[in-house]
């Protein structure tokens, strides 16, 4: 799980182009959206593409996807359970 969390952080930084940010700057349990990392709805769409491309997980409903993107840890747990890649 820890390894997946690290990989995921790296992928998030890369796909969202979070310049100057390192994996250790992202708290495993901090919210990704709004008050936490400050991401928005377009970032959520980017993460949906990331989930499909890297892990073969198709999230159909952007609103439901927000629950998956609560934090990096929640995201990693979801990937563990649903990944096909």
């Amino acid at each position: 799980m820890e390894e997946l969390i690290q990989t995921l952080k790296q992928q998030i930084i890369e796909v969202l182009n979070l310049e100057g940010m390192k994996p250790e700057d992202i708290d495993n349990d901090a919210p990704l959206f709004n008050e936490g990392l400050g991401l928005d709805s377009i970032d959520a769409l980017e993460l949906i593409v990331l989930m499909e491309k890297k892990y073969g997980i198709k999230l159909q409903d952007p609103k439901a996807a927000k629950d998956v993107f609560q934090s990096v840890r929640v995201m990693a747990e979801y990937i563990e359970q649903h990944r096909s890649k």
């Binding site: 796909v15 182009n17 310049e19 940010m21 709805s41 377009i42 593409v49």
Partner: protein, 748 residues
């Protein structure tokens, strides 16, 4: 001001070819949306509104042979020919007619088909020239022209509506008697996947304003209107099908792909349109809504409608996208034609599939209303970047009170900034220019961190960052009434990433950020969003004349009294890949001139408080399509006469020499004929070649007029005497085989 009449219209969409087929489909409530038939895509679960003809059938209909051409251009030719025929304008009369077309996709259908061939082999090089938005308009013009002037609006889904606005402004100022306006857009994998990545496509039929709505269906098509001054139409003995009574363009300035909750942009656009016509909301008889069927648009549009027309909004509203699908850049024109048909035939088209209006939504007309008399019809077009435009049509018997032209006021360039191959945000080039001798260089960037926070910059490509920084510097504390941008290619970096992803990953993996920044209007709208500017907002994309068109737009509007301060920008970036592609085309990669990148921003104003920092006056803009030397000379004389100047006051002409031997030889020979003995200067050798390069010619001339002498590095001939105290400078720009411009700047 001249009354703007509509004397002809033509259309092609999923409802068929021509006005008659469109009318029948609307009256019979027969939509044209269904499974994909012609687009080569794996995303087949999304219904689309395709024009029911393949490219070969379209070629026959358009009357073009085997030449390389895009589907957007083919549809455009068909629709424009119908419009001209109805207006009774023959090919021999086109020399007096201008064309303003809207598109965003342009020739992307060919781009996405041949992109890797262009990079890897020479088999489809002929198609490179069909790729840009400007190329799409040029290809249409080739079949109906030669025309007087042409340009291309590219404000995503409101492109065609904004083309109508420019055309009307040209007529009102007396710059043109007759302008064909509209837009065209074919389906592509690129934008089908792009809209898919934003998760706003419905897998079922779109249901505008319905509680269960689940997104839009993409459509395609083209439509054009012939706009004519009342005087000109009367002289020709033709009557109006309808009048263009008003129009409004406003920026939502909220978000790149989503609309604001209260619909500020849509509200302002509609309000402006009604105010221009001098009518009350209750006088509108029908509203053809933007109504895409997405959760967000329909809620916002409803909020704006209820705000303007009252909570009990009694005006019939419908979205005919339930028939055609969302035809994106063409929608403003297709829905204008539908609005005209409604006026002409006395009906209100239905809004299909809205059984239960959504919460907070307007209650649309569910079935065709027949035998109604429509005096005023409002047509809405909203777009990414919050580029919102409303058009107000009136029945021909309605009399529109036209105001007199306001007193003319001098327009000044108050600030100019650049990022290019020279030192960024600096005028060091005037004394110590950087010299380039490689075929292609990236621009020298300022330190973006000083101007942009990392989080706000995360989705901004280089082009956008440069635009934001130069615009910020040029505008300073001023709040412009309008923001207009020119770009030949838009964010080619992000477009390239999308194309690579389509080729390498297959469909379904387009990055949303890349898609939303790949529309050409991102720079102008991002600047508006950053500064919450709700004013007029537009983007032109017509190859090398994109910037000149932007300046022309502002020039017209200032004379009409619609604005007094404006930000005009130009930006183009270049990638290694697209440099190679355009070098094959011959446009880039020539000896002696480096292909570069450009971002330039100008603050223009006629207001006293801004004049202390004025650099020079903008004294006129002339635009022509493929002019002969004689026509160019006449344009020059017109330009000088309007500014009250004579040729001997022109201290120099900045030419767009680009290092291509044959091109430069022709340019110099033509310049000698047109400008006589006026000293000739150059600028692209310093700033680089690219679609936005002309902006740097204007920038260089403004710097020289401000400094009171012409910078030596602009001289073609090193031994020529230094020009001191120039009265005025001309910048010649545009494309040799397309639209050319003359921009006159005078010392303040």
């Amino acid at each position: 001001m001249e009354e703007v009449w509509i004397t002809g219209a033509g259309v092609i969409s999923a409802l068929g070819v021509g006005k008659e087929a469109t009318l029948q489909a609307l009256l019979e409530e027969r939509a044209g949306i269904g499974p994909v038939r012609f687009l080569d895509t794996t995303q087949t679960e999304f219904p689309v509104g395709e024009v029911p003809l393949d490219n070969e059938e379209l070629r026959l209909l358009a009357g073009v042979g085997k030449k390389p051409i895009s589907r957007s251009a083919l549809m455009g030719i068909v629709a424009m020919k119908e419009a001209l025929e109805e207006a009774g304008i023959g090919r021999d009369e086109m020399g007096k007619v201008s064309v303003v077309s809207g598109t965003t996709v342009g020739g992307m259908d060919m781009g996405e088909k041949y992109y890797r061939d262009w990079l890897g082999n020479d088999d489809y090089n002929d198609y490179i020239k069909t790729y840009t938005c400007g190329a799409c308009t040029e290809q249409i013009v080739e079949e109906v022209g030669p025309v007087r002037m042409a340009t291309t609006l590219s404000t995503a889904c409101s492109s065609a509506a904004n083309a109508v606005v420019l055309g009307a402004n040209m007529i009102k100022t007396g710059e043109a008697d007759c302008v064909v306006v509209g837009g065209t857009e074919c389906l592509t994998r690129l934008h089908l996947n792009g809209f898919g990545s934003l998760m706003i496509l419905d897998k079922g039929l779109c249901r505008p304003f319905d509680a269960s709505r689940g997104g839009l269906n993409l459509g395609e098509g083209a439509a054009y209107l012939v706009l004519e001054s009342a005087t000109h139409a009367r002289q020709r003995g033709v009557s109006a099908k309808a009048l263009l009574a008003g129009y409004g363009n406003a920026c939502d300035a909220s978000h790149q792909t989503a609309t604001s909750e209260n619909g500020e942009g849509p509200y302002r656009a509609m309000k402006k349109a009604l105010e221009m016509a001098g009518i009350e909301p209750s006088q509108v008889d029908y509203i053809n809504a933007h109504g895409t069927g997405t959760e967000n648009n329909d809620a916002t549009e409803s909020a704006a409608l209820l705000r303007l027309f009252g909570e009990d909004c009694r005006v019939p509203v419908s979205s005919t996208k339930s028939f055609t699908g969302h035809t994106t850049s063409a929608s403003g024109a297709i829905e204008s034609v539908i609005s005209l048909l409604a006026v002409e035939h006395g009906f209100v088209p239905a809004n299909l599939h809205c059984d239960t209006p959504g919460e907070g939504c307007v209650k649309p007309v569910c079935h065709t209303m027949r035998d109604v008399r429509l005096h005023y019809v409002l047509s809405n077009s909203f777009a990414f970047g919050g580029n919102d435009t409303a058009l107000l049509f009136a029945a021909p018997e309605v009399r529109v009170a036209m105001p007199a032209m306001p007193d003319s006021r001098q327009l000044y360039i108050c600030a100019a900034e650049q990022v290019s191959l020279q030192q960024p945000l600096s005028r060091d080039w005037m004394t110590s220019p950087k010299i380039h001798n490689t075929p292609f260089e990236k621009a020298e960037d300022p330190s973006f961190g000083e101007y942009l926070k990392p989080l706000e910059a995360r989705r901004m490509g280089l082009m956008l960052r440069r635009a934001a920084v130069t615009a910020g510097k040029a505008t300073a504390d001023c709040v412009p009434d309008a923001i207009v941008a020119g770009t030949g290619l838009g964010s080619i970096e992000y477009t390239e990433q999308i194309l690579d992803s389509l080729y390498d990953d297959g469909e379904g993996y387009v990055k949303p950020a890349c898609f939303m920044q790949s529309t050409h209007n991102t720079a102008a709208s991002t600047i508006a969003i950053r500064t919450v500017n709700h004013g007029y907002n537009a983007t032109y994309s017509h190859n090398g004349s994109s910037f000149a068109a932007s300046l022309y737009d502002i020039w017209l509007q200032q004379r009409l009294g619609y604005l007094s301060t404006a930000l005009v920008t130009a930006q183009d970036e270049m990638t290694e890949g697209f440099f190679r592609i355009f070098a094959k085309h011959g446009f880039l990669g020539n000896q002696g001139v480096t292909a570069g990148e450009c971002s330039a921003a100008f603050l223009l104003s006629d207001r006293g408080e801004n004049l202390s920092r004025a650099m020079c006056k903008l004294s006129g803009v002339e635009m022509q399509h493929c002019p002969t030397d004689e026509e160019k000379h006449l344009a020059l004389l017109r330009l000088l006469a309007k500014a009250g100047l004579s040729l001997d006051k022109v201290a120099g002409v900045l030419l767009g020499l680009n290092g291509r031997e044959t091109h430069d030889a022709r340019l110099l020979a033509s310049a000698r004929k047109v400008y006589g003995e006026v000293p000739l200067l150059q600028y692209k050798h310093l700033f680089g070649e690219g679609f936005s390069a002309e902006a740097l010619g204007v920038y260089a001339a403004a710097c020289c007029l401000s400094a009171g002498e012409v910078a030596r590095p602009l001289n073609i001939d090193d031994s020529a005497p230094k020009i001191v105290g120039p009265e005025c400078l001309l910048v010649e720009g545009g494309d040799e085989d397309g639209v050319q411009s003359l921009i006159l700047l005078t010392r303040k």
